[in-house]
Structure formats: C-alpha cells, structure tokens
Amino acid sequence: MDLYQQLILDHSKERHGSGLREPFDAQVHHVNPTCGDEVTLRVHVADGVVQDVSYDAQGCSISVASASVMHDEVTGYSIDQALATYEAMRAMLTSRGRDAGDEEVIGDGVAFAGVAKYPARVKCALLGWSAFTDGLVRAGIDITPRADAPSPVAASAVGSDPPTDDKDA
C-alpha cells in the first residue's frame, strides 16, 4: 500500500542513530496516548548546531522510521535549519495530502507524504519530532519561529503565541 514506502520499512528496521548516548543537554520522554508508543530522546547542542540526537523508540513502523529519518535530517545541522526541517515535515504531515513535501528540505522525510492521508497516523510520524523540539526547549533553546520566518505556519504561530520575552515586557 502507498503508506508503507520502502524507505519507511528500511528505516524502521535499520534505525539510524538509535540508542541513548552521552553527552546530552536534555532528555525527554514522549508517548502517544492512543497506542502507547513511546520515545525517550536526548539532544546535544553546541555552537548553534545539533551535535547529536539519540533516542530509544518503541512503536509502529511509522513512528520509529520517522525518528530514524529525523536523526539523519537534524544531526549536524544548525538549530535554525533543524527547526525549518521540522516545520516543513509538520506542514506536509498535517496537509491531508496537499503538500507532497520538499526533498531538498526534509530529505527521506518525503517518504512520509502518504501518512498525511491517514489522519490517525500523523501523530505516529510526529512523535519523534515533537520529542526533538521539546528536547531543544528543555535544553534552553528558544524555538519560537522568528517573525521573518518564511513558513506561513510559523508566521501564524507568532501571531497567536507571542515570544516569551514580549509577555515579560
């Protein structure tokens, strides 16, 4: 079926970057309450770059393959680039199939375009990514999209949820 692209099956069997490693700046544990899938994830950032994302994932092929692809697409990239990849991935997955995904931005992530047509599985594909962005926050990174961010999703997020600094002001 169109959902289970070979890339997804490959990543679910050979999980890139799987296993929890040192050093790390934050560790998070995320679950999908509808099915009990879970991921423990560590992020290590330095000099504005995602140095390592290590994880231990238990779940369906979609959720573990997505974590594996995420490892490839964020490790070694700047935090800004990693967040842009996350936003592009999220936009594709929540598009109900209208956004086929840009391979230039999300790499192997395009294999998950079919997931968008199965709303019940979108959470599976986002589990690792959500853990990653939460890990960044716990590591003290401001992940709030900047006002000049190109993505319309990011722009609306700024409008509805102002950065913390503004609230304090």
Binding site: L3, L9, S12, C35, G36, E38, G59, C60
Partner: protein, 431 residues
Amino acid sequence: MSALPFTPAESALIRADFPILTRTVRGDRPLVYLDSGATSHKPRQVLDAERHFYEHLNAAVHRGAHQLSEEGTDAYEDARHTVARFIGAQDDEIVFTRNATEAINLVAYAFSNGAAGGGGGTGERFRLGPGDEVLVTEMEHHANLVPWQEVCRRTGATLRWVPVTPAGRLDLSSLDGLLTERTKVFAFTHASNVLGTVNPVRELAARAHAVGALVVLDACQSVPHLPVDVTELGVDLLAFSGHKMLGPLGVGVLWGRAEILDEMPVFLTGGSMIEMVTMEASTYAPVPQKFEAGVPVAAQAVGLAAACDYLTALGMDRVHAHELMLVRRLLDGLAQRPWIRVIGPTDLQDRGSVVAFVVDGVHPHDVGQVLDGQGIAVRVGHHCAWPLHRALGVTATTRASFAAYNTAAEVDSLLVALDGVPAVFGLDVAS
C-alpha cells in the same frame, strides 16, 4: 440450554437491518466491521425510534404540562421500563446517564461527596476516608480505574488491585489478602474489553459482601453480548453504555439495587434532580431522578430501548452463541498461525466476544493499517487498558470484536488478510 448461532439466512436478515453494512471503504471494498467492542452499528429500528421521538414527541421530559411533554415523558419512562426488563431490574433502579464512563463516575463521586458529608446521601458506606480501601483489578478499562484513582486521591483512601495471570484471568489466589474489612468498594469488569475473559461475578460479589464491600460491575462488554440478569449476579451497582449494544451514542445506564441508590449521595446537581430549592439549600428527588440532573437524554433512551427490543427479539442466548461461534473460528484460525499470539484465554470457557492478538515483528498499528487497506476494521492500541497491556508485557494489541451482525465469512476474510501482513513488512513466516 444450548442456543444455536444464527443461520446464514438469519444472518442475512439481520445484516439487512444495518444500513451502514452496505457501504464500501478504501475504494470498493465491502466493510468488514470487527470493532463492535469499541462501538456497535445501529439497526434501522433504533434509528427509526430515535427519529420518531424527534419527529413526533420532542419535548423536555419531566417538565411542562403540554401534550408533547406528557407524551415525551411517557416515551422516556417506557424506555426505562424496557431497559429494566432487559436486565431483570425494577424500573426505578435504572438511571440514564450520558455513557458508562459517566455512570461509573457517578458512583465514584458519590463516595467523594459522601466523604465530604454532602450529596444528600444517608449511607455511611459512602463515607470514604483514610484507612479505607478501594479494590479494582489489573484488567480494568481506564473508565473503571481512573475514577477510582481520583476518588482515592480526594478522600485519602488507598487503591489496591487484583493482578492478572499470564493466561489472562484474574489471579484469585491473592484475593484473601486484598479483600479485607478495610475494603469499602470492589469495582471490576464483567467481561474484559481486551482479553475476552468473563470474570466469576457471583463468586467475587459474594466474597466482597462477606467483608461488607460494595460491588460495582462494569458490564459494558457483557450486557451487549450475553444474557445478563442483575438478580442473579449479586452485585450492587452495574454500568453499561448504549452505543456498544446497537443503541445510540450519548446514553448509558447505571443500575443499582434500590436501597443502595436510595442512600447514595448525588453526583451532578441542578434541574430535574431536586425536590425543593431555596437560596440557602436544596433537597433532592427520589431515585432515579436524583441522579438525572439536567434535561434527560430522552431520544437516546428511546433509541436504547429499541436496541433492547431488537436484541430481545434476536434472543441474547443466540447472540451469545453466535458470537462464540465466531470467536471459536477466529481462535482456531489464529492457532494455525504460530506467528500470531493470542492475548487472553484461548478456550471458550467463560469468554466474551473479543479476541486480542499480536503479530510477531509487526506493531499492531501497522497490522491494523494493512487490514484497513482490505476494508477490515479492527481496533489497535491499548484499548483504554494500558496497565493490563503493561502487565502482560505488550505495548499494544490488535483486537477483533464481534456483534450479532458479523459472519463466519468475515472471520475468514480477517484470517486471509492477516496472512498478507508479514510480507508487507518484509517478514517471512512461511512454515
């Protein structure tokens, strides 16, 4: 004694009553619906009854003196009578709620309110506090677990639970140590929504009563599938939902022995449930009205009564026999596939009509997705019984569950579709 499954001709007639069974899914595939444990489909008779209420009787029942209000109230109370008769109860022992979850919360909050000295109840037994214990089991649906966790948190009582054996039965060897004079309430399920296990209700109720505990039964997976007579079970309170038994969404039932309901503190307060109200304080109506705050779910209750009539006409003994025939066929088929492991009893002894299983090397979510691609609807996940899955060492399971409208051919479709699952994920299970 031994009722027979429905014949193919009878099955065809039953299926013709369910409009949704004629639709196709995922392209032009016929719908094979094996998820009635989550919610059942509704026959035309139920849909017509609800529609008739809205088209001819619609009124806020138990209010007003106009003709519609009278007729609507009669329909609502007739529905109560039908539901009562369906489970061998008295009319005023039936409380309509929004669903079974609300029915169980009603009881849990009665204990909370009793502990706080409120709710208008007179029963000492509803005064829960530190030193008291609430006993549940490890196989409970979250709806019969989380409300008790909350009531313990609010009152200072202690939550305890009966463990489950690897075979999927309650481990009764521990019961003596768990059921003590400290136990104020024992809440457990009649039939597990995951394992299919039917628990020995009479024995458990008798042992609970021997230490003075109140017995609350989650009957969501029993009342729709097997003959249930509350006078034979020996429990004090029992909850079930309408939508799992061919009835509408939005209506559930709490049954309670009259003297228990009478002394039980109220849960939701407001209109309908009062006797007298002043600015300072209020007194409450007799049962069952004191538990039915707000405008009652009359159309839904009428639909549920139509579902009871429908099931009664089929014969609950035959419904049970038919579903067990399907369970046997599925269990036999799964036994021939060593790469599939059944979670729960593999015999028909004390068994309900759900079958949960895991496919070696394939996550249940993925199993369900492949089956869905074939038009087969099953449930995947932890089925709102996360602690049970944890106890049995599985993250999630795939669950097929049956109703009167399912057929042997649908079981066969499931088995054939399962044979195609491993290959999708590059696994070779050829024996």
